[in-house]
Symmetry: C2
DNA sequence: TCGCCAACTGCCACTCAGTGGCACTATGAC
DNA sequence: GTCATAGTGCCACTGAGTGGCAGTTGGCGA
């Protein structure tokens, strides 16, 4: 039985959400570098001091939705039954399971805005890339502890994680570039398409590939 | 016949090198975050204004050696004969050719220091990750222009580039973690080993892999 | 219900990476 | 030698980020 969050807890969440919403709104309209933290905090009605108690940096406010999604994948990985499957498959399924959990109102739209911001703002993109890199490390740690991963430093294992992250990143970028309403199911489909393209990526040449992916 | 660089050109290079050397020295001894730019510029005997005419950011001073190496790979890619080879192979060979060009005194030691700094400093690592990401885009552009790449947005092509970058990054990290003298040939060997591990990375499972890589 | 304590907030002063302007200096071309 | 341009250093400034501290709020036990 989950206890109802305390007033304090609820207040903290509301503050976090207000900052995220204000960030996506203001950064999206005027550009990340043209909105100061004072302006953002004014819009969210909190002090800058509280901002920095909530987020590590200005970029983190912009990328919270993205981080939440990867965190959900790690949780799904942690909950997955132990077994001897290819790591790429295990991670693909964890990513999809995590995506399934992203069901709060307007989540897909917030992710799309985040990705648009990332594409337009090197500092955010760099932070997202670093975050994903750290996510591979967290995933390896979970696998070692719960999935009997024996050689977490082996090139094959490390590259499997990097390939997983690359596939998901590329699918997110493509999905966010689509027109029309942000649709989470379409992101799952793009993710599957990217994972499906992995084997051929090792042999693809410069000429027109056999079928557009 | 290459003309001798002008006084101006030589002065600029000396300034750049002084800043890089001072950065690696001071950052390596005290930590990136504990050395101010005033201190760095004092050590290199230039003004902060000149620092920012030379580098985009504090991080860029720390990662110049790393960037030079990737830039050499892009040059090798640009000079490679057109042909229909797997992109992964083409990029591997360009990386190795670029490595071959990194023959200035002490280069390997500077790269190792750079990587150690990167491992210890999230901001530098994030910048390096972003730089590599932009390098995939530059490589795709070169391939479209000179290697008849027909579908630069195909998932297979994008993932091929990401896999290449991941393999090289992982080999660099392993190489830099080695003890003993920094040896460029060993880095080339580690790069080949990482590329050799790519096919098995798609199927590797959590159990002990067949042979440690 | 009350009181205590810990969590949380906002205010403020500050540091330092990064920016732009401008006067001065050095170099290179003619 | 002259002149124009490239390059430099100085300076004031902004804004992200930090730490300290007093005041406020919420939770819990008596």
């Amino acid at each position: 039985m989950t206890a109802r969050p305390s007033l304090r807890e609820r207040r903290k969440r509301r503050t976090r959400e207000a900052l995220i919403d204000s960030a996506l709104d203001l950064f999206g309209r005027r550009g990340f570098d043209h909105v100061t933290l004072d302006e953002l905090c004014e819009a969210a009605e909190v002090s800058k001091r509280t901002f920095f108690r909530t987020f590590t940096s200005k970029e983190h406010a912009a990328m919270a939705t993205y981080q939440d999604m990867w965190a959900a994948a790690l949780e799904a990985l942690e909950a997955a039954p132990p077994g001897r499957r290819p790591l790429v498959d295990l991670m693909r399924d964890s990513l999809l399971a995590g995506l399934d959990k992203m069901d709060s109102d307007g989540w897909a739209e917030r992710l799309r805005r985040t990705v648009h911001l990332s594409v337009a703002t090197p500092a955010i993109e760099a932070h997202c890339l670093y975050f994903c890199h750290r996510t591979t490390e967290a995933a390896l740690s979970i696998m070692r502890d719960r999935h009997e991963l024996a050689a977490p430093k082996d090139f094959r294992v490390l590259l499997a994680m990097d390939i997983v992250v690359a596939a998901h990143q590329r699918s997110i970028a493509r999905w966010a570039a689509r027109t029309g309403e942000a649709d989470r199911a379409l992101l799952a489909a793009d993710t599957l398409a990217a994972f499906g393209a992995i084997p051929d990526s090792l042999t693809v040449t410069g000429g027109a590939p056999a079928q557009e992916h």
